[in-house]
Structure formats: C-alpha cells, structure tokens
Symmetry: C2
DNA sequence: GAGTGTATACTCGGATAGAATCTGTCCGAGTAATTCGGG
DNA sequence: CCCGAATTACTCGGACAGATTCTATCCGAGTATACACTC
C-alpha cells in the first residue's frame, strides 16, 4: 500500500503557487520544469486539484494555474482527497457472510463488523490529522530562503523565454 | 490507494482462530472454506502472520495455524504491519531538490521537508490508533452468536471429513 | 492607427501504452500423524 | 503385539500467470494572447 506520487507533486506545486501568488498564473510546463517532472502527467494531477476547487486554471496564452483560495484555507486533507479520492483505504468486503457465515440469520449482520469499524476509526484519526494542517502552516515550517530562491527561479525563467 | 484485501482476511482469520482456541491447529483449507477464499493465496498471508510472530504453524498431518499469543496482546497494527509491511504510506521522493532546488545550498536540506513531516504526523496518528485496539476488543464488539456459530461450523467440518 | 486574421501558448480531456503491484494458481520439498504389513 | 515402512495430510516456499492500478505519453479540441498585415 502506498500513496500516489501525485500527492507529493500536488502539495509541492501548491506551496510553489502560494509563494508565487500575485505573479499571475503559472503554466504546467514551468511547474514541471521546476521539479523535473513529466509535464503531461503532472497536468492531469493539477486538473484534479482544479476539479476539487483548490486551484483555478486560466486557459489560453499566458495561462496556467493559481491557488483558488489562500493557503490558510487549504488543508492537506483537501489535496489528498483531490488526488487520491475519498474512498476508504480499508474496504470491507463482508467476507464474514460467506461460507461459515452464510447460514447465519440475516439479523446478525445488521451492524457493520467490528473489524470494519475498528479500521475506520483509525482511518478517521488519519484524516482528522490531515485536515488539521493547512498549507500555510507547512509553508511556515520551511526556510524563507527556499521561498526566495523559488521566486527567483521562476522570475528568471519568465524573462529568458 | 487501497489496503490489500489480505488485511481483512488476516484479521478475520485471527478472530476465528481466537474463537477456536484450544481445539488445536486449523488448516488453511478449512479457514479458506469458512470464508470462501482461495486457499493457496490465503496461505501466503497466513505465512506472513507467522513470520511476524502473530500465528504459529505446525506442519504435518492435523497441522495448521493457531494464535501465537492471546488476542489481548495482538493489536490491529501488528496484523496490518505483518501483511502490508512497515513502509510509510506517503513516501517523500525529495523532488524539492530537483530543478529549481538543484542550485540551493545543500545546507537548506538538512531537515526533512515540511510536507514530508506533516504527512508523517498524520500517518503516526493512524498507526497509534491501530496499535491502541487489540483483537480481544474487536471480538468483544461482535455478537456472541457469531462466535458460537463459527465454532459449530468448524466442529461439523471436522467430523464429516 | 484601427481593425482583422493568423500564429502562438496555454488548458482540457480522451486514448493508449508500459511498469509496478495485487491477486491467484501450481508445484516440489519438508514434516508429522496415520495406516498397513511383517515378524 | 510390536516395529518399521508406506501413505496421507498438512505447511513452506518459489515460480509463474492474469488482473488491476499507477505512471507516462501523445494527440485533438478549445481558448486567450500576441503578432502581423491590410486599409
């Protein structure tokens, strides 16, 4: 079980877009170049973030992506849900009803099985923790030099293109 | 991202083995039949639980699997770790060092990136919750009729084979 | 200089292909209980 | 009745195949800007 790489990409791109706020939209190609990622594939993930309302995209020349709302109002849960989907990680397939359980009175299965609820409980703790952390808080924990360097890199890119 | 079905299988098998404690080892074939699962594949997962020290296996005729320790001392985390492995779900690939970050002073990357630590924090909450729940507690939440029915099913199997 | 048409630079979405992982099957080797045959 | 060999019923582990998901690429369509060209 592993989380898609797209989550890491999406989070880093959101942080970058936050640092570049006010410079107008940033194209997929430049974002991809800044992390050495495949542009077409990254674009698919950014589109998912747009559908989730985290980014906004502007088509046409000098178009691209920018944050749809301030980083204080974007949680890690938002980004993970947008890219990984909202399905439970543990999916109960109700094997308790098969075989030995097939002869049981249907009434016994009125409530979800204890295993399913226990797993869900742990998963909710994970989601709660993700929802408690905003992009702004994560950004606050990174050195200012990184933000500054990123801004310079994109400014340079813009001129010599 | 989804958890392997083997976790559900493993948990249900552990609960069943706990209910059948004292009846001696239970073979893969009978466990598989009781949930209508493919025996050979289930066996692989049970082996993983043995390697993790959760189950013990006895080879030879009338062999099979049984719990290696009481269900009070088996947590959901134990079972998940045995089957899914102990790798982090979110794996940081350090894309911050690529492209725009390549020119940065190496000193800036002394600490892990904020995104990585934030994701890890959420994951630890998940693991903590899994480790807090024992198999015995999960069993306590299931109706006694299910335990009784399971015991009867296995007793019947044993006689007419 | 204003208006128009064309080129350009993007996003968007689908189709598709390759790689990795998950699920499932099969077989040979090892081990212990059971059964059978000979003394 | 006892001992030993063959049979049986399991686990263990690897090799392998199919299905699903992840990663990646490509292309056509739509849209907005920039540029050039005409009047």
């Amino acid at each position: 079980m592993r989380m898609s790489e797209g989550v890491e990409w999406g989070l880093h791109c959101c942080v970058t877009l936050a640092w570049l706020e006010g410079d107008g939209p940033v194209s997929t190609a430049r974002l991809a170049a800044s992390f050495e990622l495949p542009a077409a594939y990254l674009n698919k993930r950014l589109q998912a973030l747009v559908r989730a309302g985290i980014l906004s995209s502007t088509p046409g020349a000098r178009g691209g992506f920018q944050l749809a709302r301030p980083p204080e109002r974007i949680t890690l849960m938002d980004v993970v849900a947008a890219i990984e989907g909202t399905d439970d990680v543990f999916r109960c397939t109700e094997i308790r009803r098969k075989g030995a359980g097939a002869v049981a009175s249907g009434r016994e299965f009125g409530r979800p099985c204890g295993i399913s609820t226990a797993m869900r409980k742990a998963e909710l703790a994970w989601r709660r923790e993700l929802a408690a952390q905003t992009l702004a808080e994560v950004m606050a924990g990174t050195p200012a030099s990184a933000a500054e360097r990123t801004r310079r890199w994109f400014a340079a890119e813009r001129t010599h293109t």
